[in-house]
């Protein structure tokens, strides 16, 4: 996409948001969707869905800038799978199961760093940064083994648009270009590979769908986020575009109405709209004016009532001046408060009464079309539909 095309597209998004603002409308789904409560609570359904949606389909494992150079690695639990991401000395990012092939010890503790070899803490079997088994301590006494067959178990992995994508099951079908489709060039406009990683944190949160629903609608912004992000966006005004299972949400900023008084040729659309890119099933990228960006990866926990959100705060440039550090710190604190102290407090409340029997269904409104789309895609993939569907 050329810069001119992008400018035109952003103007069109601003027009759509302005039209909703003037008419007090929003993009809508055809009907209210009633989702049976079991979709949020049933343990068996949950385990089946996590297996299919999070372990067999491509998901966002991390950011390219989390592996800044050869030998940089990231070890973490991802949807119950021990994941080791490594950028090899050939500069290629790979994903492995973080497990020694000898007798199954985890290779690296959770965390990140840089190393050229990976030695098991149990008996010091050592692997290269490309996963090959390099050395077996006292190999002559250990006995005959074929080291070529004992490299780390590799998972499908690819880098696109500044993100590390992968699938958490060895050998599972993985075609990242087909999976992302037109969403890849859309994500590419964010240029995530060139940002500075300011800070990261893992936030415990409510159950998977309770959590994700909140990332996919702006209906709650006035009531929940009055002290934080709600001050910058208009509650319940959504412009939605879909790319297969993935979605781009456009929110109106409080200033959107002023565009009506300016000739379109003078519009600076991004001062009046805010884009959220939602990669199915676990990614949310929220670009904010002022050179800051929040990337959230939501990982399902062992049970239907727990998630871990990996929150990454990015800055366009490494902040060096006091003013820049202060601005980045303020952004980081605001998004932490909005998510941890606002969204996830509401979510924890929902989890605490979800078994009370008050609701046989949760209702997802016509004004929450992105939530509906997310749930429909879960149902579609669970029904065995393997098409990415555009």
């Amino acid at each position: 996409m050329t810069a001119t095309d992008r400018e035109q597209e952003l103007r069109t998004l601003a027009q759509r948001a302005l039209a909703h603002f003037q008419k007090r409308t929003t993009d809508q789904a055809a009907d209210v969707l009633a989702e049976p409560i079991a979709a949020y609570t049933d343990e068996t359904q949950y385990q089946r869905e996590v297996e299919r949606i999070f372990r067999q389909l491509p998901i966002a494992l991390g950011l390219s800038i989390e592996l800044p150079g050869a030998g940089s690695y990231l070890a973490m639990d991802a949807a119950g799978v021990p994941l080791l991401l490594v950028r090899g000395s050939d500069n290629q990012a790979r994903a492995f199961l973080n497990v020694c092939r000898h007798r199954g010890s985890p290779l690296c503790k959770p965390g990140s760093g840089k190393r050229r070899t990976f030695s098991c803490p149990y008996h010091a079997w050592t692997y290269s940064d490309q996963g090959a088994l390099l050395s077996v301590y006292a190999e002559d006494l250990f006995g005959d083994i074929d080291k070529d067959q004992l490299g780390l178990v590799e998972l499908p992995c690819a880098e696109r648009a500044g993100l590390l994508w992968g699938a958490l099951t060895p050998g599972v079908h993985f075609d990242i270009d087909d999976w992302l489709g037109d969403f890849a060039p859309e994500l590419q406009t964010l240029d995530l590979g060139s940002w500075h990683l300011y800070t990261q944190r893992d936030l415990p949160g409510p159950g998977w769908k309770v959590t994700m629903d909140g990332y996919l609608e702006v209906y709650h912004h006035n009531s929940v986020h009055g002290q934080t992000v709600g001050q910058h966006t208009i509650g319940n005004l959504l412009v939605l575009d879909q790319y297969g299972p993935h979605q781009r949400m456009t929110f109106g900023r409080r200033s959107i109405g002023t565009l009506a008084d300016q000739p379109e040729s003078q519009w600076q659309p991004l001062e009046h709209i805010r884009l959220i890119h939602s990669g199915f099933p676990n990614l949310s990228v929220s670009g904010i004016l002022g050179g800051h960006c929040l990337v959230s990866q939501i990982f399902p926990g062992p049970t239907p009532d727990i998630t871990i959100t990996r929150q990454s705060v990015l800055a366009a440039e490494p902040p060096t001046s006091d003013a820049a550090i202060q601005a980045t710190e303020a952004f980081s604190a605001m998004v932490l408060q909005a998510v941890q102290d606002e969204d996830y407090v509401i979510g924890a409340g929902i989890q605490s009464v979800i078994h009370a029997g008050a609701n046989e269904e949760f209702l997802i409104g016509r004004n929450e079309p992105a939530v509906q789309h997310y749930h429909r895609n879960i149902a579609r993939f669970m029904a065995g539909d393997n098409r990415v569907a555009r």
Binding site: S89, R116, T126
Partner: protein, 105 residues
């Protein structure tokens, strides 16, 4: 006493006293020099990489094939200087040996 002169990553030179038979990786580690030695001295992990002063390299026992293979993965591998310190043992012949802790990869 055998004296080993080690230069750390801040370019500070330190004279360390060793006894005959001491493992050099353990000597460096015990003096808080920056050898990670993840594998504990098995010639397995290549995180106890040192660069031997030129005059001394050829006076050491020969480097093994596995040691060379592991060292060659380092960005700072020098075929004429690099050793894994876990594969070296202090002896009276090495009195005055000079080495430098290899930079972090």
């Amino acid at each position: 006493m055998i004296e080993i002169v080690a230069t750390d990553r801040e370019q500070q030179r330190r004279a360390l006293s060793a006894s005959d038979g001491d493992n050099l990786m353990e000597l460096l580690r015990d003096h808080d020099l920056e050898v990670e030695a993840v594998c504990g001295g098995c010639c397995s992990c290549a995180t106890c990489h040192v660069l031997i002063d030129n005059d001394w390299f050829d006076r050491l026992p020969a480097r093994g094939a596995l040691e060379t293979e592991l060292l060659s993965l380092s960005d700072h591998f020098d075929d004429r200087l690099s050793r894994l310190s876990c594969q070296l043992t202090a002896s009276p012949q090495l009195h005055g040996l000079q080495l430098t802790i290899a930079p972090e990869d």
